[in-house]
């Protein structure tokens, strides 16, 4: 998408910040799922979000996409405040997402699923159908267009959700667990797809459990642990970070420098 003039970045260490998360805190009763999380994402960047189970990754996605409203802090896209808006408004402003627990419209055909996304950007049903078909080819589901979404395999459903989110023409795409729950043979294809989207100029934030995948794909990794950001930087630095290793493996493993 054509990048228009971008508001000055907060914090300033990155020249152009497209999405900024500033001091986000989200509590559920006595549990703080996110505590003062802050980071900026530059246009065209691919940022990975890692952390053990329960570290607050998904909560952060829910906050960015408007499904949760944070108790403190805010999220801005290109200077526009997203916090406080409903999820559909957030999407129309340019932030799309996939769900960790996949949610296809099971009763609709695959092409109709994608048309729902495309119709957010066009009023013309025929045009939306053309766009949907093109996107299906793009994600490799061209031959499944008329199948009911409920009949797809998990890997195909991931591609469907990806295409559906892309159909809304996002400026930032949030991917929750691209390779989670799919078999080993399916992973390379999905990873390749994410790479291509990034190469095409799309800004992505990706939650991923598979370390090999995320370190290979991401330019930068944000690590969360118990709701707090514990590291933020290039993949090789973050994966060697003492606190990250501790978080994943416990203190005993953190002492010696990890072998390459």
């Amino acid at each position: 998408m054509a990048g228009r003039a971008v508001a000055p970045a907060r914090g300033g260490h990155r020249a152009v910040s497209l999405l900024s998360v500033a001091g986000v805190t989200k509590r559920f009763g006595g549990i703080t799922a996110n505590r003062e999380i802050a980071f900026d994402v530059a246009a065209g960047e691919l940022v990975g979000v890692i952390g053990p189970n329960g570290s607050g990754k998904s909560t952060l996605f829910e906050v960015i996409s408007g499904f949760y409203h944070p108790d403190e802090g805010e999220v801005r896209l290109d200077g526009h405040r997203l916090t406080g808006l409903s999820p559909d408004r957030v999407c129309r402003l340019g932030v799309a997402r996939t769900f960790q627990k996949l949610r296809p419209f099971a009763g609709l055909t695959v092409v109709d699923n994608i048309m729902v996304g495309a119709l957010t950007r066009t009023r013309d049903v025929r045009h939306a159908r053309e766009r949907a078909r093109a996107l299906l080819e793009r994600v490799g589901l061209g031959d499944k267009a008329e199948a009911h979404a409920g009949t797809l395999s998990t890997g195909q459903r991931k591609r469907l959700e990806l295409a559906r989110a892309l159909a809304t023409e996002p400026r930032v795409l949030l991917l929750d667990e691209v390779t989670g729950g799919v078999d080993q043979r399916t992973i390379p294809g999905l990873v390749q797809l994410v790479r291509e989207l990034h190469a095409g100029g799309l800004t992505l934030i990706v939650i991923e459990h598979n370390m090999r995948v995320i370190t290979a794909v991401a330019q930068r990794i944000v690590a969360l642990y118990l709701g707090e950001k514990i590291a933020d930087g290039p993949p090789d630095a973050v994966t060697r970070d003492r606190r990250v290793v501790e978080a994943y493996l416990g203190q005993a493993y953190a002492a010696p420098a990890p072998a390459p």
Binding site: D88, F99, R103, P104, L108, G117, L119, A165, T168
Partner: protein, 324 residues
């Protein structure tokens, strides 16, 4: 989404041709009622089928239409057409309130809230004697003319209600083919996923319920004029709400022709069985209800998607007997 309109064209053409051949008042009366109950079931389907907001309180809207037409006519001598419009506006207002509730309450809680609404209106209509004549109901005076809808010829009624039926059918067709229709289907399937794709789910649900309400009220106003008597315990009853839903469910929920087919079946079955077995002295008073019940169970057992999808699957694959 589902497409073919040929069966619907055939259905409505058949209804249009019937009065040319049929002169029997009993049969014409049956046809009017089939088209009328079909229209209400289709109006219900806009909210219950396409938007997935299952209501068992749609008699609220039907009753509002019926009472508006009857009261404006008897109290101020106004045309039932004006009563229809006023009823539709009132129904839209109540529809907005129920639509708002649909954003707070899900599934069975929403259903219960809609039932509660119809019961509140029933109490108002049956107790507010000074205005509504209370539980006595209202006899709608026969004032000859089209503007006053005082029409004795049942063939004219067939065409009038047929126009209504085609109108409601076209609204449904719009919901199958338009942008808003696709978005509404997404809301029905998974509201959160729809929201994440930029679909204004809440507004769409409220709008669908309001449209459904207005159409149902229009049916109620015409029904009051056709039957000539409005009884609060009938027009605001849960029984009536169930009848609307039943027509749509049996015919095929979320299909445009389904509610008409379902309502035709229910109305025909009920009328036939009551005429055949219901008479005093037949010795089998009440057995028609048993046969009626068994027939409904059979449909739900063997065609759980409804008759129209069931027949559609058979039509496309006559050799292979099983639907998908």
């Amino acid at each position: 989404m589902s497409g073919a309109t040929a069966p619907a064209v055939a259905f409505f053409a058949l209804a249009a041709l019937a009065p040319v051949v049929v002169r029997d008042a009993f049969l014409l009366d049956g046809l009017v009622l089939i088209l009328l109950w079909g229209s209400v079931a289709a109006a219900w389907n806009v909210a219950g089928g396409y938007a997935g907001q299952v209501s068992l309180g749609h008699s609220v809207f039907f009753g509002l239409g019926a009472y508006s037409a009857a009261l404006l006519g008897t109290r101020w001598g106004l045309s039932p057409w004006i009563g229809l419009a006023v009823g539709a506006v009132l129904a839209i207002a109540v529809g907005f309130v129920i639509g708002f509730l649909s954003n707070r309450l899900r599934g069975p809680y929403f259903v219960l809230a809609t039932i509660a609404f119809s019961q509140v209106l029933l109490i108002v209509a049956s107790r507010w004697r000074a205005f509504t004549s209370g539980s006595e109901g209202i006899a709608v005076p026969f004032r000859p003319g089209f503007w006053t809808l005082g029409i004795a010829d049942k063939r004219v009624w067939v065409y009038l209600i047929l126009a209504l039926a085609v109108g409601v059918y076209l609204v449904q067709l719009y919901l199958e083919r338009s942008r808003r229709g696709y978005q509404l289907a997404a809301v029905r399937e998974d509201e959160d996923a729809a929201l994440s794709l930029g679909v204004p789910a809440r507004r769409l649900k409220v709008a669908a319920i309001a449209v459904s309400a207005a159409l149902t009220a229009a049916c109620g106003a015409l029904w009051a004029q056709y039957v000539g008597f409005v009884d609060p315990f009938y027009v605001f009853s849960v029984d009536l709400s169930v009848r609307f839903a039943l027509g749509a469910v049996l015919g095929g929920i979320g299909t445009a022709l389904g509610p008409f087919v379902g309502a035709a079946l229910v109305t025909t079955l009920e009328t036939y069985l009551r005429a055949r077995f219901g008479g005093i002295g037949a010795g089998l008073v009440g057995i028609y209800l048993i046969i009626y019940g068994v027939a409904l169970i059979a449909i739900v057992r063997f065609a759980p998607q409804g008759l129209v999808p069931w027949l559609g699957a058979r039509w496309r694959r006559p050799a292979a007997g099983t639907a998908r």
